[in-house]
Subunit: 337 residues, 2 copies
């Protein structure tokens, strides 16, 4: 059922029906009533693209993330979607797979009015943010992995403080040589987590040892080789702080392979949102981010920008707190079963 | 930069510029060339909604799933998105949160031309599929949780056979009283997995005991109470087959609470796509579905329908194979460490 058919059914011109549906003052109340009744009757629905053109609003937002099959981004998207549903908005999902070129292509694609706003968490390979700086007229919100120097609202967790807490926890439980496994140093979160790690070392008068800092990548085999090499060293680390869960799981695998016992030989802590961390063998001590809440918060801010048509609305950045959840993988010697 | 501004820059009428951009025969080659050069120069992009209206194509598909923060739906969406990116399509995500009313509202919203096709995995509360039967002119593909009687392509895994294999595996490892924990019996996957469970009992001459079949819901506390009650029974089960991972994790929790040892006192197997199953304590035996491949397969079929403008293209249903991955949670007595 399109407008033309509806007009024919009503024996009116297309333009009259269209005006009636838009509640135009040129159309009488009785005609409007008749048009609406017939439209309801025939299940006529306004074409959303025609409606978008008219209103210059797409009622759609885009979420650009590295991946979705993930314990962190999954709940974030769920949080975003819950707010979008309340607001009657549609959510487009784009995955960069940690590839900067894909991220650039996606952002370019979104500049032509398909969406009313964008939420993004940067790919680990993103070294330049020119593609985002071009988005001058588009409401934009960063979450988790942010571009510090771009004037747009940012929703993050207290990464530096969490890095400090995680490292300090390992030291308190007896670790002296703590490895830090991180993703690309391009990422805001990597830098902040590492600065917390370094600060905790300093506070505890442990000297920084660059050979204990592993810059991992998206290549799992390469990462495993680096971790294996590290754990085979004569002076191997007695603690591992992984900035993402998959690097902790790799550490578990390699410890099993090398017959190293966690937590006796090596203690492990990582950032993780996995619900199964408690049932790993041994159970995994984690820093857990409020992922769902981050999604809700970021979406709430984006809709404020969209609804006010404000592009450069300099909101305060929002920082939510992560939580240290102590389990067996970092247990100190005297309390080990 | 809109069409009006572009026309002004070129000193041409809006309609001429528009025709030139559409490669109309009414416009001379030299004018077309000039228009294209200026459009590129000024970074003019065609409004996607105007373009959609003209072509009656939105270049957008919708994916309707119960949740995204999940080891199964996450990789499925990743698979769908990978195909959509190849095809230059946009992916809208809608979450039903297992709520039939939400599912109905979402489908209604999608009937007005916003998308060119829909992929859906039904909510566990979906008892009627009238809302999907109304989608007569819309390419539709079901995956995993399907509506059997609707003529649309379906991508599933061999749920019945997997249910049989899981149950038979428990029996071979010594179980005689096997509980089956399932989500709503409305779901196609629940029915098929259960029929495999029942067939394996029959083949092994074990009588069906309805008190061992728990119909769980979205309410985690309620589920935990039912599982607790079951495991506290005098004649408690010696094996648990959970049709979804979260019910296996609940079983782990309650076994810990009741000081029951897995696999000594109770063996546990479940459908799961979690990468951490190998590191659970004890490591969890799983039936693992090829989630990412399901997403790719379902999307490939949907695009065939979309590109051929076929609404009732009766393709064969596609069934992919799941895999039994044996780990410690089902280990037989004689081989237990």
């Amino acid at each position: 059922m399109n407008l033309k058919q509806l007009a024919k059914e009503l024996n009116l011109s297309i333009s009259s029906v269209s005006k009636a549906l838009r509640d135009s003052h040129e159309i009488s109340a009785s005609t409007k009533k008749a048009v609406l009744a017939k439209a309801t009757d025939l299940n006529y629905q306004v074409n959303p693209y025609a409606s978008s053109l008219r209103k210059q609003k797409s009622k759609t937002i885009a979420v650009v993330v590295p991946e979705v099959a993930n314990d962190f981004f999954g709940p974030v998207i769920s949080g975003i979607e819950s707010i979008a549903q309340e607001k009657g908005y549609h959510v487009l999902i784009y995955l960069t797979h940690e590839d900067m070129q894909k991220e650039v292509a996606i952002i370019k694609l979104l500049q032509n009015g398909r969406v009313d706003g964008i939420m993004i968490s940067l790919s680990e390979q993103t070294t330049s943010t020119a593609h985002l700086e071009e988005l001058k007229e588009m409401p934009l919100v960063f979450f988790d992995r942010v571009a510090e120097h771009i004037d747009a609202p940012k929703v993050t967790t207290d990464d530096k403080n969490s890095g400090f807490i995680a490292t300090d926890h390992l030291i308190k439980n007896g670790c002296k040589r703590i490895a830090f496994l991180t993703l690309s140093q391009n990422l805001s979160i990597s830098k902040k987590r590492m600065s917390g790690y370094l600060e905790a070392l300093k506070k505890n008068r442990i000297e920084r040892d660059n050979s204990l800092i592993l810059n991992c990548t998206g290549d799992d085999r390469k990462n495993n080789n680096s971790i294996r090499k590290l754990l085979k060293r004569k002076n191997r680390p007695d603690g591992v702080f992984a900035s993402v869960e998959k690097l902790a799981i790799s550490t578990y695998e390699i410890c099993e392979e090398l017959k190293l016992k966690i937590p006796r030989d090596i203690k492990v802590i990582c950032f993780s949102n996995s619900q199964t961390a408690a049932f790993l063998n041994p159970s995994l001590t984690t820093i857990t981010q409020p992922a769902y809440e981050m999604g809700r918060e970021a979406a709430t801010i984006l809709f404020k920008l969209v609804e006010k048509n404000r592009h450069h609305f300099l909101l305060e950045n929002t920082m939510l707190n992560s939580k240290l959840i102590v389990r067996n993988s970092t247990r100190a010697k005297r309390t080990q079963k």
